[in-house]
Each structure stands twice: as structure tokens, then as C-alpha cells.
Amino acid sequence: MAKKEKKKAPLIHLLDCIRLNDKTIFILCLIYTLVSLIEPIFPIALPKVMIDYLTGTSPNNRGIVWIALGFFIFYGLFSFLKHWLNYYSYPRMLKLRMTYISKQIDKLLNMDYKYMESAKFFDERELAFASTNSNENGVEGIYHKLYELPQLVLTILVLSVFIGLASPFILIALIINIAITSWVAIAVNKYEYKKKEQLSKHSRRVNYYAKTAKDFSYGKDVRLYDLKERILDNFNTEIKGYIGAFKLIKNREYALGFLSLLTLLLSDICTYGILTYLVIKGMPIADFSMYIIATSTLSIKMTNLSENITYIMREYMYVKDLFKFLDENLVEDDGERLAVPGDIPLEVEFSHVTFKYPDTDNNIFEDFSLKIPAGQKLALVGINGAGKTTFVKLLTGLFTPDSGRILINGHDIREYKKSELYKMFAVVFQDVNILAYTIAENIACSQDNIDYDKVNSVLKQVGLYDKIQGLPKGVNTMLLKIIDEEGTVLSGGESQKLAIARALYKGGNCVIMDEPTAALDALAEQEIYEEFDALTKTKTSIYISHRLASTKFCDVIAMIDGTGLIEYGSHDELMKLGGEYYKMFITQGKYYQEGGALA
């Protein structure tokens, strides 16, 4: 991971991206600018030429046809070119946006995991992420506007000179009009930005109802607890709240708009008044028509330019956020040490570890120490919230302790290269995340160099082989139905097995299972327990559960609560001790005993 802190202006960033990906855009833009500069000449000149001819000496139909034909050929050609070029370049900007999406994805996948769990991190960058999700805003929006920019500026310059030569007053009035109109637009934008928080609060609320009420998984509870009317009423209230906040902005826009009405008045009076005056002073009527068209063309172009610039300024704020995110260093320094070779089990030691999640107040671990000798099978037990999953996140380097050290084979895990550290662990989490890839890809976690023999052998080990052989495409069957309608959906137990197969395929030196049986029936649960042995062999392994039955096949039990390690020892030792573990075990086992006794 390169860690140079680049600081480039967003505009340079955007241009750099063109330079690196598609230089042709510059040339296309140049041609487009030239064509667009010439194109408006025809509609402006046509009335002058025609009226001059008609009011001149001996006009005839042949002459009219020639003029018309001449204009048709050139005006038609340039008009065609201008529009065609515009469409031709459009998807190139889309491609540029895609490169930003790729960068964003890459960044998200490679930044430190701790940011993933930070709601604050995502809230703050919401706008940055939104700046690549549509053709019409953010990055791509700015590209489209930038493409138009040189054309607008040059056309305006040329037309300004042209009109200014006839009457500078018209030009000045036009400029005042556009300046005020732009100022109004900017003022409204600023006001909107100021009200952003209020508006986003309302939009968050209204979006909650839009999302929740449409969420199919809420359907049962909505029906059974008769919540439909209630939710619709609330939804309505939130819509009203949102509209109320939105109205404030629009009212401001409306009020400020009266200013631009005034300047419109000024510019219209100047244009028509002065041109009329000039005709009286002897300007041909053909020129009158020509200047009217030129003025309105200039006015349109100026409005476009002002919209263009206000648009860019508005989207710039979001794009700036995006570039900030892309340039941010979100990867902590890691070490150089490589993974311990595959067949050597790990010795793990937590030494005086203190940790709390970022932006929270409670320590999950306080001066926590625990040593797991190489090859040991450890059961980590405790009530909900005791920090069992946090233990895994710290050990695998997804989070870093606030103080204290975690050692693997005597070396602080910070000495290891992150990717090498990850290599050493095969983890099965409670929530198995099946992705819409093929079965083989889900197991190998890769699309290249899949070792199919190994895939088959791990499937056999977890007992999924027969089921998958029965599918028409075998291990190449897509999972889930979202991508492939013929895809297969696995049951909860099968998904767990697939996750175990994934861990088996990966190998590693240490196996961790985090509550893998919570949603399974008793027989499936038992199967998983048995597979645990196959998975672990001689490796160091950690089994996390609040089902104490799982402790039977572990060497040692570590019981933790919110403060740290409270009991440690073999099952028999802890039962003799009669402490928390004993109490928990008895509580859970009591009814099995009674039930069994009844039998």
C-alpha cells in the first residue's frame, strides 16, 4: 500500500483522470468547441442575409433558393456535428465515472476494517459516495459540464464583442442581468447548504419510512400487529415535515427571484429600446432582427454558463469529499513479517490488552491477558456482550488494541504484514455470508486458479458433496438467485457447512469458529461439532459459543465477562470450582437433566 499523502485540487484530479484514461476526450472537446462556436453564426446571420436580400435591389425566388440551400448545407452540417459529438463523447464520461467507482471500491476493500464498522465514518462520507452514483451528478455531472464550458465561454466572448460593438449598453445590461441571476442561484445554493442539516434530518426520517414500509421482511409483523395504518400515517407526517423544510428553501429562492425579474426588466428595456433607437438613427431593419437573435442567443448562453458554473460549484463540494476519501490514508502501518508456515500451529498471547470500540465509552477488555499454547483447543465462553467476537476481531488484526500487545509465536501482530496475518486464520462466523458467485468461487474466494480437487475434497469433508453433485452444474452452480435465476439457495445448515468448507479450503494455522450453530437444529448442531475436529486437527483452535455443550471437545475453557477473563481451566476443573461457568452450565443443562430423568 502506497502511503504518500497527495494533495491535488479536485479539478486537477478530474483532468488527470482524463489524461490517464482517455486523452481523446481533450481532442473531442476541442472539435466540439470549434463546431459549437461556428454553429450559432448561421441562425444569427440568416435573417440578416435574407432581409437584406429582400429589401435590396431586384430580389427573386432563385436568389432566395440559393440562400436557403447554402444555409441548409452549412448550418445543417454544423448542427449535425455539434449534436453528434455531444452524444459521441457522453459515454466516455460514463467510463471516467466507472474508473472512480473502481477506485472507491478498491479503497473500501483495502482500508482498515475498523472504518467499516464506524457509522460516523460512513455518515461523513455519504456525499462522497453519492458523487459517483449517477450520470447527472457528482463526478460525471461535472465532466459533462466541463465539456460544455470552453464552448460557452468562447461563444459568449465572441457574441459580446459583436453586440458590444453595436451598443455597449445592451451588453452591460445583459451582463448585469446574468450576474444578478447567478448571484441569486449561488445565494440559494448557499442557503440550501446551510439548511442541509435540517433537510437531511427530515429526509432521513422520511427515507426510514419509505424503506421500512416497503421492506418485505417487515410484512408479517405489520399484518399481525395491525401497523399498516399507523405506518402510513407516520409516513404522511414525515412527508409533510420534509416538504415543510423544503418549502423554506424554495421560498427563499422565490423571494430572491424578484431581484432577477428587475434585472430582466432592465436588460429587456435596453435591448429593445436601444435597437429601436438605432433603427431610427439609420440602422437597417435586417440588422435589427440579427441583433435581437444575437442578444437572445447571448442571453441563453450566459444563462447556460451561469448554470454550468453554479452546478460545478455545487457538485464540487461532493466531489471534493470523494477525492478527500480517495487520498485519505486509511491504512495503518503494518510490518514486514510473513505468515508462519502452514503446518506450524500458532501460539497466541494477549498481554495486558485494553480495548474499546472507537467512539464508545465502555472498555470491552481491560488489562486482559490470555495465553493459548500452540495446538490447543480453546473454548471461549461468556454471556452476550462479554466480548467474544471482539476477541476474534482483535486477534485477526481487524481492530487494534488501545494498549497492550497481542503476540503470535512471540511477535507482536503489528509486526506482521496485514495480508500475511489474515492468511494464518480460518474463521467461521455465525452469520454466513453467501455471495452470488459459483459454489467453487464461494469456497476458493477467488475466480482464478481454483483447485477443483481441493474444492471437491473439502465439500466431501463437510458432507455437502453429494448435494452439490446433484445440481446440474455441480460446483459451478451459482449461489443465490439474484444474478442467475437458476441459482441455488442453500438452507441455514448448508450455508454453515459451506462456510466451514471455505475455512477448510483456506487452511491457515489457526481455526476460529464464532457461534456457528445458533440457528441450527440439534442434529445439524451435532454435525458441526463433529466437523470441528476435522477442521482443526493439530491446529490451534478457538471455539466461541454461549452453548456450553461445545466445551466438551475443547482442551481448555476461558470464560470472559464484560471486564475480562474470569475463569480458566478444563471443563472438569471449572465444574469443581463451582463459579460462573458452573452456574451457566447447570442453568443450561438443568432441563435436559430433568427431561432426561423423566424418561
Binding site: 409483523d221 431610427i280 440439534a522
Partner: protein, 590 residues
């Protein structure tokens, strides 16, 4: 699906939301047209005056007229825009609300059918990413404006000559030919690109979803994801390049026709002036009519393309909105109390599947009885619960409550007698209190407190800044509080207990609870439900020890239905196996 049907449906929907919206739109079009027409007509008089008498008063009059016309119309437009901006948003959100209403009103089975889930996702995608509704409306406004303008302009040009109008209409016909050709292509294009886009969206969203990232990192999956998204990036941009190239040519040709119209107008009107029948003022008027006519036609054409494109996106929305609502339940009997439940030869398979989840099952639950349903994953336990809740109808056989077919009961009274905690229960970002009572008013606070005590969550609730009035979850408002899985489950159980029902169903209610909390729930459970009838589903076999009878379902049939004691006598039975497999782990040999 026919576009006509789609438009009709959307328009009907919008009309039902706000009829005034349509009047605003029409008024807006009138203003738009008025301005164009006056802008075409007024300069003629100024030019006539300039080429004629040059009377100062008249000149000033016409200049003022032109300026005033612009000013007044700009004011009107601005005012109407202010109204429409607000109305647009309002209508858009109300459409979302109607969408939500539909989801909450359709027969429940749709919500478990992947087809409809997919349909909903696609509909939402169109609404959010393509802002389909507001785009559709914006394009409709434009189309309407331009049509009005075109009619007015034709009226003006007819003053001069029908030849001009007819010729222009012929060129319009050319435009239509290009456009129709285009539209066919576009529709095909969008029907092909939408699914690709959606798949792409799936992979992109994976990366934004935190739940996957532990796996992504530990199993080094980032390369695979980057590969997939990149290949979609390439695929999509290739598609769009092709599309825009073609679109560019037809839009360019479009423009050539516009030029043709303009040039023709100049030529034709010019030659009319040669005859001496009209002056320069008329020339500019007719020519600018013709120019405005073609630009109106072009804008109308763009708007039309836009409308068709959006209609393509809206197809899933329209399809979803056309799903009929839950039939107002046939029955009219009021259910007072659940005294007994009886399944008689009930067979059931989920819609669009062949597999019989329940195969001719019969059993009876007596008043006040506590029954546990036991079976392997996928055996049909939750299905029994859904059938009792009338979320589905059996394919054959009948479910009786108090010896009456459950479908003969009136809908509201029926559901009011049943309280259930589903495996995938959901709570809302209401206050804690409202989540439990499901009512904003008429709350019995003492009862709520008592139930909070029973599910042992009082301490947690008391520790919150606003106590029982604290908002549940942060999604709606940042001030809300996130609850852990176990705590949420307790609130869900409290909700079921609060409901004044005579049948309580708990489907895996303790999976997120730790053993201590679980034991508490078990031990208090009978106490909590009191003399109500209760159905209980759990993989923790120890829970069935508390129940009066256990219904063992195996592969869709009732394998056994008896007391724990009796079932344990059959060592070959599924129940015995399940129980022993867990119990064997708890031999306490101290």
C-alpha cells in the same frame, strides 16, 4: 406490458394523490404557450412600426408591450415554478407512500416469493436511481407545454399559408419516423441493460455493506470483487458506447431536420414577401413561428423519448402496483377467544413450488395448552405458524379455531386474538413503548412496566435517557438507541405479551439470548402467558420440557404428538434423538 397501460396507471395514481397537480401543470403549459406566442407576435408590430410610420408614441408602446410581456410571463412562470417544485416533491413522496401501502396490503405470500422481492428491488431501483416518477412528470410537463405551443404556432402560421404548415408537418413526420425507429431500439436496449445494471448494483452494494467485510479481508476476496465489478464496468460502458453512438446519429439527423425547417421557413416566407402580400414584420413573425415550431417539436421529441425510457424503468413498479390487495376477508364472524385449534388434513406447499411442506397433517391444540413444535430445519414448523396466522391458505384441508374454519372469521378480530414472535421479528423506530403497545394512544403504562419486568429488560430501559420513550434504533433519528439482538428479542416478546391475545406463538424467540437470559425466559414463560394457549418453537430441546405436549413434525408429517415423557420412551423417534444429542453434552458429573 403496454405503455398505454403504464401511463394510465401512473397518471391515475398521481391524480388520486393530487388532482390540483394536474391543474397546475395545465396552467403552467398555458403560461408557457402564451409567452411563446406573444414573443412571436409582438415584435412584428414593432418592426412594422419601424419600417412604416415610426410614430414615437407607438414605438414606445410596442417596446413597452414586449418588455412588459416578458416581465409578466417571467413572474407567472416563477410563481408557478415555486408551486410546482413543492408539488413535485410531494407527489413523488406520496407515490412512494402508495408503493409502501401496496407492499403492506398485498396478500402475504407475495412477500416470500423471490420473484416479487426482485420485482420490488427493481421498482425501488427505478424510483431511486432513475428518479423515475419525477423524471416522468418533468418530461410530461415538457411534452404538454410543447404540444400547446405547437398548436398555437400552427394557428399563427395558418394565417399565412397552409403550405407552410403542411410542409412543416411533413418534416415532423420525418422526425417521427426517426424517433419511432429509435424508440424501438431504445426499448430493446433498456430492457437488456436494466438487468445488467441491477446485477452490477448487487456487487457494488456488497462492497458498501459492512457485514461482508470480515470475510472479504480474512479470506482475501477483494481481488475477486474488483474483478467482477470491473468486468461489469466494462460491459456496461461498452453497451452505452454503442447506444450513444447510435443515438448521436439519430439526434444529429433530428437537428438537420430542424435546420431544414428553419431554412425552409425563411425561403418560403421570403418568397411570399416578394409577392408583396406581407411585410418584413410579418416575415419575422412567421419565420419565428416556424423556428419555435421546430424547437417545440424537438423538445417534445426528447420528452417523448424520455417518457418511454422511464416507462421501461417503471415496468416493475407498475406490475407491482397492479398486484391485487388482500381480499377483504370473506368471513364476518367475530373471534372472541381462541378455545381450540384443529388442523384437519392440511396440505400445503408454497406458491409456485411443488414440494409439500405439510402433507395431510392433523392435530388439535386445546384451550390453555402449551404446545411445542419440534423438528429439523426446514421441517415445516414455521409454516404451521404462518398458516395459523392466516398469512397463507392451505392447499387442501381446513384449519379450525373453536370448530369454525378460520377463514370464516372477520379479519381484524381474528388477528387481534393472536400474538406472535417470529424468528425474524421486526421492531420499528418508534419509541420503546410504542413498539410494545403498537398504539400511539390509550396506553396502560402499568401493564407495560409489568411486562418489561417480566422479560427482565426494565434495567436497560430505565438506564436510557428518555426511558420508555426512547426511540428504538438510529435509522430514523440519531437520538435513538441501538439494542443488541438479545435485548431486541426481549422487546419483541414484550410486544407479543402486551397484545391482548388468547393465543401466543413464539417461533425461536431466544436464539440471540445468552443461556442465562434464555433460562429466565423459559422459566417465566408459562407464568407470562398465563392461561393463554401457547405454541412454542425452539431448537433448544430443553424448552419442550416445559410444554404440555410436543408436536413432532418430520418431513411434512406429524411423526408424534405427545408429552415429553411419552416421547422419550420411543428411543427410535426423532424427538428422542434430538433431545439426547443435546442432553448428552450436558452430563453433569461433578
Amino acid at each position: 406490458m403496454k405503455n398505454k397501460i403504464k401511463i394510465k396507471m401512473v397518471m391515475k395514481l398521481v391524480w388520486s394523490i393530487s388532482p390540483s397537480y394536474f391543474f397546475m401543470l395545465i396552467f403552467n403549459s398555458l403560461i408557457f404557450t402564451g409567452q411563446i406566442l406573444l414573443n412571436v407576435i409582438l415584435p412584428k408590430y414593432l418592426i412594422d412600426e419601424l419600417t412604416g410610420n415610426r410614430d414615437y408614441n407607438m414605438l414606445i408602446f410596442w417596446v413597452v408591450a414586449i418588455v412588459a410581456n416578458n416581465l409578466i410571463f417571467s413572474f407567472l412562470k416563477k410563481s408557478l415554478k415555486r408551486l410546482l417544485d413543492i408539488k413535485d416533491k410531494e407527489v413523488m413522496w406520496q407515490v412512494e407512500r402508495e408503493f409502501a401501502k401496496k407492499v403492506m396490503s398485498v396478500e402475504y405470500w407475495h412477500l416470500e416469493d423471490p420473484y416479487y422481492l426482485d420485482l420490488k428491488e427493481r421498482a425501488s431501483f427505478a424510483m431511486q436511481n432513475q428518479s423515475a416518477i419525477s423524471n416522468l412528470i418533468a418530461n410530461t410537463i415538457t411534452l404538454l407545454n410543447q404540444i400547446f405551443a405547437v398548436i398555437g404556432l400552427i394557428a399563427i402560421m395558418l394565417q399565412l399559408s397552409w403550405v407552410l404548415v403542411v410542409t412543416l408537418l411533413v418534416t415532423v413526420f420525418l422526425i417521427i419516423v426517426i424517433q419511432v425507429n429509435n424508440m424501438g431500439y431504445q426499448q430493446k436496449f433498456f430492457s437488456e441493460i436494466i438487468p445488467v445494471n441491477r446485477k452490477y448494483g448487487y456487487y457494488i452494494n456488497l462492497v458498501y455493506d459492512k457485514i461482508y467485510h470480515k470475510d472479504f479481508r480474512l479470506f482475501d476476496m477483494s481481488k475477486m470483487l474488483v474483478q467482477t465489478t470491473d468486468s461489469y464496468n466494462k460491459e456496461i460502458s461498452t453497451w452505452f458506447c454503442k447506444f450513444f453512438k447510435r443515438l448521436g446519429i439519430s439526434m444529429g439527423l433530428f437537428q438537420v431536420i430542424v435546420v431544414l425547417q428553419t431554412v425552409f421557413a425563411y425561403g418560403f416566407v421570403g418568397s411570399q414577401t416578394l409577392k408583396g402580400s406581407i411585410g418584413i414584420g410579418d416575415l419575422t413573425m412567421y419565420v419565428s413561428s416556424a423556428i419555435n415550431f421546430s424547437s417545440s417539436i424537438i423538445s417534445a421529441g426528447y420528452a417523448l423519448v424520455g417518457i418511454f425510457q422511464i416507462l421501461g424503468y417503471l415496468e416493475p413498479f407498475v406490475e407491482l402496483m397492479s398486484v391485487s390487495d388482500e381480499a377483504e376477508c370473506t368471513g364476518s364472524m367475530i373471534l372472541e377467544n381462541v378455545d381450540s385449534i384443529r388442523f384437519e388434513n392440511v396440505t400445503f406447499s408454497y406458491p409456485k413450488t411443488d414440494k409439500k411442506v405439510l402433507d395431510n397433517i392433523s392435530f388439535e391444540i386445546r384451550k390453555g395448552e402449551k404446545v411445542s413444535i419440534v423438528g429439523l430445519n426446514g421441517a415445516g414448523k414455521s409454516t404451521v405458524v404462518k398458516l395459523i396466522c392466516r398469512l397463507y391458505q392451505p392447499d387442501s384441508g381446513t384449519i379450525y379455531i373453536n370448530d369454525t374454519d378460520i377463514f370464516e372469521y372477520e379479519h381484524k378480530s381474528y388477528l387481534s386474538r393472536i400474538a406472535a414472535v417470529f424468528q425474524d421479528y421486526k421492531l420499528f423506530n418508534f419509541s420503546i413503548q410504542e413498539n410494545i403497545t403498537c398504539k400511539p394512544v390509550g396506553i396502560d403504562n402499568d401493564r407495560v412496566d409489568k411486562i418489561l419486568d417480566e422479560v427482565e429488560i426494565t434495567d436497560k430501559v430505565k438506564s436510557l435517557p428518555k426511558g420508555i420513550n426512547t426511540l428504538f434504533g438510529k435509522e430514523y433519528d440519531e437520538e435513538g438507541v441501538e439494542f443488541s439482538g438479545g435485548q431486541s428479542q426481549k422487546i419483541a416478546i414484550a410486544r407479543a405479551l402486551y397484545k391482548d391475545a388468547s393465543l401466543v406463538i413464539l417461533d425461536e424467540p431466544t436464539s440471540a439470548l445468552d443461556p442465562m437470559a434464555e433460562a429466565e425466559i423459559y422459566e417465566n414463560f408459562n407464568n407470562m402467558v398465563g392461561n393463554k394457549t401457547a405454541i412454542y418453537i425452539s431448537h433448544r430441546m430443553s424448552s419442550s420440557v416445559f410444554c404440555d405436549r410436543i408436536l413432532v413434525i418430520n418431513k411434512g408429517i406429524v411423526e408424534a404428538y405427545d408429552t415429553h415423557k411419552k416421547l422419550m420412551e420411543n428411543t427410535e423417534g426423532l424427538y428422542y434423538k434430538l433431545f439426547i444429542s443435546q442432553a448428552s453434552n450436558y452430563n453433569i458429573n461433578v
